[in-house]
């Protein structure tokens, strides 16, 4: 398969326009920053955002996400306790949605991005199609973790019934939202081209 790079040209990662070498710093059609001028630091950005996401993911799970006050009694629940609560209510389907969105997807994403970054660093050429599919899934699915933050916002806005029931957001809502945003930035920093690189086209 001939690539723009192997043909001695530079392809725009946004709009696909092909440029002669030496290429301008930005795409002549869409103004996207073209690769090849500065050394490629996309992997460093991937790792940096991933670690930032991992660090804020820890308090997101330890501290309460929701503070519910019913008739003077306050209960606090973390992300996991929220899922268990739903199970007690008998809403298994919704419990599954929240469990997947706030626990399975974030943790799976950490592993998936780390695996992709390591495999690019090690210049592995195996299973490029599978790895590319994995990247697409990570990029598509990552934003759905935001569900739980929205649930907290909606509940806190709705349930303000003075003495009978009030719901307030907990500090974990902030760190969880940050964690989702940081891992999204990590996935966006990843350059999918590096999965397909062969020969002269590797980073560094």
């Amino acid at each position: 398969m001939m690539t723009a790079r192997s043909a001695g040209l530079v392809g725009c990662p946004n709009c696909g326009r092909v440029h002669d070498v030496p290429a301008p710093g930005r795409c002549q059609r869409c103004g996207w920053r073209l690769p090849g001028h500065a050394p490629d630091r996309s992997l460093q950005r991937v790792w940096a955002w991933l670690f930032a996401g991992l660090v804020v993911y820890i308090p997101a799970n330890i501290y309460p996400m929701l503070r519910t006050n019913t008739f003077g009694r306050t209960t606090e629940s973390t992300i996991l306790e929220g899922v268990v609560d739903l199970l007690h209510h008998g809403s298994y389907g919704v419990a599954l949605v929240v469990f997947v969105a706030s626990i399975v997807i974030p943790i799976g994403k950490f592993f998936a991005i780390a695996y992709l970054a390591i495999s690019v660093e090690r210049r592995e050429m195996m299973q490029v199609h599978a790895r590319h599919r994995l990247f697409e899934v990570v990029e598509f699915i990552g934003r759905w973790s935001m569900i739980d933050v929205f649930v907290v916002a909606i509940l806190a806005a709705l349930v303000q019934l003075d003495f009978a029931a009030t719901i307030n957001p907990g500090i974990a809502a902030i760190s969880f939202a940050l964690s989702v945003a940081f891992t999204m930035l990590s996935a966006q920093s990843f350059d999918p081209k590096t999965i397909w690189l062969d020969g002269d086209m590797r980073p560094r």
């Binding site: 398969m1 001939m2 723009a4 059609r29 103004g31 081209k193």
Partner: protein, 227 residues
């Protein structure tokens, strides 16, 4: 929405030896934005799609009257969003008290104390970014639909609209609403307001609009018209 899945990809390496001297001019080439594979794209007929042979990324998918349709759908979305912001979203009754909340209330609930940042983030993700994206698309594509020259700064505005796409989370918000409904079902009686349905319609229209979006065609048209 019928569209033929015909693949109209042609590899440049198939016909001639891949020597830079024998390549067609760069204006006729397309590099796959995902995997950098090089193609010489023929004029792809309207209604069909060209995919990258290697990574299956859609390279181009021109549709008849796509620009006009995107502008109209984006306009509809703006109106629906304005309705969704100000009409009551959900109505909750418990212990004889009724509470109405609009989307603005959902955003403003975080607006005091340490949660200000979260208020801004939620407001941006569900209202501001989707709205900004619709307006940006109208600004860029409306002159295109009429066959006029591109608006001023159309290139950076469209680039911004592309950047905003993963961050506009209206559809995720809808799922969040569904989960929240079930969470409070035991606590109180809930009913959906008109803004909820406006929001659902908005999500569906956005999904339809995105099927008409063909980045390559839009960028090419912008380039041709600004010359």
């Amino acid at each position: 929405m019928s569209q033929s899945d015909q693949v109209h990809t042609s590899e440049t390496s198939r016909s001639a030896a891949p020597r830079p001297g024998h390549l067609p001019p760069v204006e006729d080439l397309v590099a796959c934005p995902t995997c950098d594979a090089l193609y010489q794209l023929p004029d792809v007929p309207k209604g069909s799609r060209a995919r990258c042979l290697r990574c299956h990324t859609v390279l181009t998918a021109p549709r008849d009257g796509a620009m006009t349709r995107i502008v109209m759908l984006a306009g509809t979305s703006v109106i629906l969003m304005l309705a969704a912001i100000f009409f009551p979203f959900l109505e909750l009754t418990a212990a004889g008290i009724t509470q109405r909340s609009s989307i603005m209330d959902v955003v403003l609930v975080f607006a005091d104390g340490p949660f200000v940042g979260l208020a801004i983030a939620v407001g941006a993700l569900i209202v501001i970014l989707p709205l900004a994206r619709f307006l940006a698309l109208i600004y860029v594509l409306a002159p295109m639909a009429f066959g006029w020259r591109p608006a001023r700064e159309a290139v950076p505005v469209f680039r911004l609209a592309e950047r905003m796409k993963p961050w506009s989370m209206a559809e995720i918000f809808i799922v969040g609403v569904a989960v929240a409904l079930i969470k409070v079902a035991g606590l109180a009686h809930l009913s959906l307001g008109p803004a909820f349905w406006a929001f659902v319609a908005l999500v569906l229209i956005t999904a339809v609009k995105d099927t008409f979006m063909c980045r390559l065609t839009i960028w090419k048209t912008l380039e041709q018209r600004s010359q």
